[in-house]
């Protein structure tokens, strides 16, 4: 069964969500991944949205992180402090964040493009909740297109902490111990982070993608897992649910 790269990314993201865990998601692909996980491998996954929606029965894809879908028949319709404090307390296992740039330590930029903060080439939205969630949730995942302009040597601005400058840097900065980037899911590969160096390490390349494809589209030196694999492609069941139940109007999977 054929699939596009967005479908692959969503399926991979979904499989990385353990059952009986809690994830904070935004809209778009991460939300699709969480919905898919609930309908496949993680029926007991609880989904939070940072504006206050907790454990909704999502009737369709929300447009906004705060819209009424995010607390449709929810366990609780609470507040932003409540969600963020639940993260800070250590109760939230996963989050997904996005951005314009990511470096080899998983630091993410969503603030400006350019070298002068006061006169940026492009003003981007800023952290929103990304910095908070990536500081406080146990495992942070990033879904991104894989290009040299996105996977950069150095972010123009570190909006959201990955491993900062490397081992021990998060803890030294005061961030809660044991947290940090977990997976980066791109349209070329899946990467984790090397335990010793905290650097991005490719774990699998997607079917049909070569190591060279990945390297040529990355601005920094990647590490490679000794057991580099091929990403398991979406299976029929996943694709059927994703296309028919999760994103029937192809809002997300139509973007690929």
């Amino acid at each position: 069964m054929s699939y596009n790269r967005m479908e692959l990314m969503i399926c991979v993201a979904a499989r990385n969500l353990e059952d009986e865990s809690i994830v904070v998601v935004g809209t778009g692909a991460p939300c699709a991944a969480a919905m898919l996980a609930q309908k496949t491998s993680a029926p007991n996954l609880t989904v939070f949205f940072e504006a206050g929606g907790m454990g909704p029965q999502l009737p369709s894809m929300p447009i906004s992180v705060g819209d009424s879908r995010t607390f449709h028949k929810a366990l609780a319709a609470s507040s932003m402090p409540e969600v963020m404090e639940t993260c800070q307390r250590g109760m939230v296992d996963y989050t997904f964040i996005g951005g314009a740039q990511i470096d080899m330590y998983g630091n993410v930029n969503s603030t400006i493009i350019g070298s002068d903060y006061h006169a940026p080439k492009v003003r981007l939205p800023g952290s929103g909740g990304a910095n908070d969630l990536a500081s406080l949730c146990w495992r942070t995942m990033v879904m991104t297109q894989h290009t040299r302009r996105r996977l950069v040597e150095k972010c123009d601005f570190i909006t959201t902490p990955g491993y900062l400058t490397g081992p021990g840097a998060r803890e030294a900065a005061g961030l809660p111990a044991g947290t940090g980037p977990y997976k980066v899911i791109t349209d070329l590969c899946v990467a984790g982070f090397d335990e010793e160096t905290c650097r991005m390490k490719v774990e699998s390349v997607h079917p049909g993608v070569t190591r060279k494809d990945v390297e040529e589209n990355t601005s920094f030196e990647l590490l490679w897992d000794d057991n580099l694999g091929i990403t398991e492609p979406p299976n029929e069941e996943e694709l059927r649910i994703l296309r028919n139940e999760v994103d029937p109007y192809r809002y997300i999977i139509g973007r690929a």
Binding site: G26, T27, G28, E50, A51, G52, G53, P59, S60, I63, S64, V65, G66, D67, S68, T70, F71, A77, S78, S79, M80, P81, M84, Q88, N107, T111, Y117, H118, A119, P120, K121, V122, R123, L124, P125, G126, S127, G128, G129, A130, N131, D132, S135, L136, C155, F157, I158, T159, T160, P161, L164, A169, R170, A172, A173, G174, L175, P176
Partner: protein, 329 residues
């Protein structure tokens, strides 16, 4: 213990709880009829230079009528709390109403894309910006609502967001861990749209509250727009539902469909068509004429709503909100 970070930013409001207490000491506790028009509320309660906080979540439960009126009355030099400020930021940026901003999330409209007009005010240096995060601003409101000068938190640390922010780092006296001391944020004016209010300003909100409980308490003056005015006794029938008590509130205005084109939970969904029209006008350089048509050229929110499709459009958005496959969808 104080180890200042190399903060590039400024504090736009004074986090001193004693100064705020002096203000709140004199704030009226009289439970009187506070109903007025949007025009009056903006004229009397929003002054050039004020620092404002907008309730809701960018395009969810936003006080659109008041935001339009701020533009219409050409208020200037406002400070803005950019706490997931999407369509609200877009409206105020279009009017060039603010020149300083605490940023957690601005210029974007989430999945809808970036607002060119909002980008412009930041990229051209028309706005003094300081970086924060959504949780940081939420907790800054909470510190003010609690009457304390700061709340410690474990966010922003180690990043450029911190470098271009203006909080101070402290060390915990018990555990020695580093913490961000987030300074209390007392806005001059808080503007919030709610589901129900009585004439005194006792308010109920359905669904998520985002940060509005704290904004209402932290703000020195509060303007409420409400989908419906309800009898005072309705409030007393369900005292656990009171989200904002009357003594926080200075003005109450009944504005049905007041969050349009934003989503109002359990009432109507967002009008994605109109929001897109706005983004397109910006992109195509037609913003001035768009504003002329929809804001400067209209008398009030009723006229705006009428221009946008009136009750027929709202009925469609109500169907969408309730997932009813109406004839319009």
């Amino acid at each position: 213990m104080l180890r200042a970070t190399s903060t590039d930013g400024a504090l736009f409001v004074n986090p001193d709880p004693d100064e705020a207490r002096e203000f709140f000491r004199r704030k009226s506790r009289k439970m009187v009829n506070k109903v007025m028009t949007v025009k009056e509320a903006v004229r009397e309660l929003v002054h050039d230079g004020d620092y404002i906080a907008v309730g809701g979540f960018g395009a969810i439960r936003i006080p659109t009528a008041v935001l339009h009126e701020i533009v219409r009355q050409r208020k200037k030099h406002l400070g803005l709390s950019g706490h997931t400020a999407t369509h609200d930021c877009q409206i105020l940026a279009a009017g060039e109403c603010f020149d300083r901003c605490d940023i957690a999330y601005v210029v974007g409209l989430e999945a809808r894309g970036l607002s060119m007009a909002s980008r412009r005010v930041f990229e051209r240096g028309m706005v003094k910006a300081v970086e924060w995060t959504n949780a940081a601003l939420a907790w800054r409101y909470k510190a003010a609502a609690m009457g304390i000068p700061f709340i410690p938190a474990r966010v922003m640390l180690g990043t450029d967001t911190a470098k271009y922010s203006s909080f101070k780092e402290i060390e915990c006296p018990y555990t020695k861990i580093k913490l961000a001391a987030l300074p209390a944020l007392y806005p001059d004016v808080g503007i919030i749209h709610v589901h129900r209010s009585d004439v005194y300003g006792n308010c109920q909100i359905d669904g998520i509250k985002i940060s509005d409980e704290d904004i209402a308490r932290a703000s020195k003056r509060v303007i409420i727009t409400t989908e419906r005015l309800v009898p005072h006794d309705d409030i007393r029938q369900n005292p656990e539902c009171t989200v904002i008590p009357y003594y926080c509130v200075d003005a109450v205005i009944e504005v049905p469909y007041g969050s349009y084109p934003g989503n109002m939970p359990y009432e109507y969904y967002s009008d994605e068509e109109h929001l897109n029209e706005w983004l397109t006008a910006e992109r195509e350089g037609r913003l001035d004429e768009f504003l002329e048509q929809y804001i400067y050229g209209t008398e009030d929110f009723y006229e705006y709503l009428q221009l946008c499709g009136g009750l027929k459009k709202i009925t469609q958005l109500r169907n969408q909100e309730f997932l009813i496959e109406g004839i319009y969808t």
